[in-house]
């Protein structure tokens, strides 16, 4: 029972931190609202573009490269899902796990080499 309580308490703390993390900006901004001046003027609310008048919508299509990196991230990030439990349990698993993971990572490495050769990793 103690263990369960301690377990739940620990996550309660995390929740407390979450509340505080949200509360602080809210409170600070609320306080700021009481203190700060409010003198609206048209020019203040225009978008900043180094001094020239803003033209057309800024929400342009993202460059395709970003997606490619996102894909790479997804793939490699998920691989760490396998690496983490493996690393934690490595002591108990022994050499078999090492070989197994080696094969796994070699596959991954082939993937990386593939991306490399296909010039996916070039930011140009």
């Amino acid at each position: 029972m103690d263990l369960l309580n301690s377990y739940q308490n620990n996550y309660l703390i995390v929740f407390v931190f979450l509340c505080l993390g949200i509360l602080l900006p809210v409170v600070a901004l609320f306080l700021g609202k009481l203190l700060r001046p409010h003198k609206p003027e048209e020019a203040k609310y225009t978008t900043y573009e180094s001094g020239i008048e803003p033209f057309h919508d800024s929400r342009i299509q993202f460059n395709v490269r970003y997606y490619i990196f996102a894909l790479m991230f997804v793939i490699f990030d998920v691989e760490t899902v396998f690496l983490y439990p493996w690393a934690v349990a490595y002591d108990k698993l022994g050499i078999f796990a090492l070989i197994e993971m080696l094969i796994f990572v070699i596959m991954l490495a082939i993937g990386l080499i593939y991306a490399w050769k296909k010039k996916v990793l070039r930011w140009m």
């Binding site: 395709v64 996102a70 894909l71 997804v74 793939i75 990030d77 998920v78 899902v81 396998f82």
Partner: protein
């Protein structure tokens, strides 16, 4: 505070699954459809993990299954987005209902 019953997880998963299915079947934007599919797969994850901890016969294999599901979900998303990008480059659209060149 008692621990959450299994059925709550199952219902949550079911709701998530249904939302995902609804989205996957009705949305026009292919990106949203892909996200909906991820939602369905995550519903599966909830199920598996809940069963693995609270099921009739708890066992670790559910969690292992989840690892694989997560991976597969990632792979599907990656492949799906890659294909979508290549489609977008040609057709300049991501709407599913505009992909109708292959009819009759």
């Amino acid at each position: 505070m008692n621990s959450v019953p299994l059925s709550a997880y199952l219902v949550l998963a079911l709701i998530l699954f249904c939302i995902g299915l609804y989205g996957a079947l009705t949305k026009r934007n292919a990106v949203i459809v892909l996200i909906s599919i991820e939602l369905m797969l995550n519903a599966v994850n909830i199920n598996l993990v809940a069963f693995s901890k609270l099921g009739t016969a708890p066992s670790i294999s559910g969690q292992i299954f989840t690892l694989f599901t997560i991976t597969v979900a990632a792979v599907e998303a990656a492949v799906g987005l890659a294909i979508l990008m290549s489609l977008y480059n040609r057709r300049k659209t991501v709407n599913v209902d505009e992909m109708d060149q292959l009819k009759h």
